[in-house]
């Protein structure tokens, strides 16, 4: 079953008076529990594509379906609600909330987005901290952790709401190579354990090899350059 299905999507921007095409007639589909990478140089449209799949932005034309929902028509409120229910995000700079402990950062979406009861929240947070190997850091604050540990927290936070799809924009860009590999391995393990689809963007050739399916973007054009079947 396809979790993401894009048919002839385009994204154009106005830059001054000129119209710039960031994504040109993209057709692709991503199955559930895939481990996918969008690769390409800076400015190739990776982030734009992730933003559209993540319902942070709308295609200018074409059809984009995520988790069975045509996301083109979502307004601001519905898009936020949809993201909260189905999508998790991992950011290049981790984007953890500095005043909250690690456990509280992971718990945050369950309070602010999904409003879970306290006991259920606690169980889920503990489960995710164990899964990503940061249980011993629960009461620390983000500034007391290394980059790799912060990204583990971010992965746990993205997974905590049982998101079907995790979008990671350059998740390893601020990490050294060893840590970057460990983070990619962890993401893959989470995909295996929870059946969650991961889509990440990168321009690091060594990291992109870890992906099972690769879509390459160049000047707004997208083509599949690796894989094509469901892995796991």
């Amino acid at each position: 079953m396809n979790l993401v299905e894009a048919i002839q999507i385009e994204k154009t921007y106005l830059s001054g008076e000129a119209q710039v095409s960031a994504i040109k007639h993209a057709d692709f589909s991503i199955e559930t529990a895939s481990f996918v990478s969008f690769v390409g140089p800076s400015g190739s449209g990776k982030s734009t594509l992730l933003n559209m799949i993540g319902c942070l932005d709308h295609p200018s034309s074409g059809s984009l379906t995520v988790a069975g929902k045509d996301v083109n028509s979502l307004d601001r409120y519905s898009a936020a609600k949809f993201r909260g229910e189905h999508i998790g995000f991992i950011f290049q700079d981790f984007n953890l909330i500095p005043v909250l402990t690690i456990a509280e950062n992971i718990e945050y979406p369950l309070i602010m987005v999904q409003n879970w009861p306290q006991q259920k929240r606690q169980q889920r947070v503990n489960e995710l901290m164990d899964a990503v190997g940061i249980s011993d850091q629960a009461s620390k604050y983000p500034d007391q952790l290394s980059g790799g540990q912060k990204q583990r927290v971010a992965i746990a936070r993205a997974l905590v709401t049982h998101a079907k799809l995790i979008l990671a924009d350059e998740p390893t860009a601020n990490l050294d190579h060893d840590t970057a590999y460990r983070i990619i391995d962890l993401m893959k393990k989470m995909r295996n354990d929870y059946g969650t689809t991961f889509i990440f963007s990168t321009h690091d050739p060594k990291i992109m090899d870890a992906a099972e399916i690769i879509y390459t973007l160049e000047d707004g054009q997208i083509k599949q350059t690796k894989g094509g079947t469901k892995h796991g």
Binding site: R83, G88, F89, I97, P109, M112, V113
Partner: protein
Amino acid sequence: MGRIVRIAARNLLRYRRRTALTTLLITIGVVAMLLFLSASGSFKAMMVGQITDSMLGHLQVHRKGYVSSIESLPLTMNMKPQMISKVEASLKSINEIEAWSPRIKLGAMFSNFAQTTSIRLNGIDPEKEMATCPELMKRIIQGEMNKLPEPGKILIPELIAKGLKVSPGDSIVLVATNKDGSVNGINFIVQGVLEGISGPGGRDGYMHINDARQLLRIDDNEVSEIVVRLKKPGTLKRVMSKIKTSLGEITSQKGKPVFEIHSWEKLSPFSNIAKMIDLMTLFIKIMLVSIVLISVMNVMIMAVYERIREIGTIAAMGTLPSNILKLFVIEGFLLGLLGAIMGTLISIISILVLQQAEITFAFGRQTGLVLYPLISLSDIAFASIVVVVVSVLASLQPAWKASRMNPIDALRHV
């Protein structure tokens, strides 16, 4: 909601110095307002109480035209027994009225057999006057304390007692001209000396109403004014309206009203000072609102600006715009609440200290007045509610801006 409040509180603590300074500013505003309210309110209440409870009552009924010529104390404008009956019938029908007292006001020559001066006097029924102006007796500073004048005795103002060197127990002569122009003189004993207070009538003497009638050779029970005391001063406007309605219907043969009714505010110039105090209180309130509005808005605008990426992150995670708005509004609310609580506590402590200090001050010719600041629960509640509401309002605009932020732009913000 409790968790959002906790997160909001943590957010405030991340900029401890800024939060502390803003809270301090709000606290200073609350303290300034509550101290001013307590000091000015107590001064006003004391002065108004003194005027109404020992001199003017809450309102007075006169024959039409009397007040405009009150300087000459015209005996020709006294109210006749028939008119008094109508006034008393009207007053009896109003539940809010506690008591009333008829008075004859007169001017006389006061002589200690060596020197003579003029004096303004009120002829009173002691029992009724005591019920209407209960604080009058407290103004007796020499002589028989807590006792209004018996027949044959008078209470004289402090200035005359000092000026003519007259003491309680001394014999004096009062000479008055009646409305027909004939002059009469009677000996009286000084029963006591009255402390003067600010305002008209504040330096009047008092005598028994029957003595006043005898001195003026008034045969019937006519009076110059009827002084009215209310059960609750706050009902003044309502009672005035009721009396005006009932007495307004009584007209002369020419169809003109027979009576006039004046509140103490119209009879005493202190009401203008009271209005000035109210105006200053209003300015202080406006200043408090401005302080809270500007300081909280400034903090919240900075908070939003500094947390744009964080707002983008939580928006991307799916936090609804209403929850983002709530988060920032609660931060503003907590700032206001903290300032209000601290301000109230410091104000109460300061007021208790001022009460113990018994600071004295002078007003007009009155000296040694003790400032005893008091603050009501309603004033504290008003200040606290204003601070909290204004804090919430001040944080609405930044919170709205945060909730409307485009997540992509916010995440790109450096």
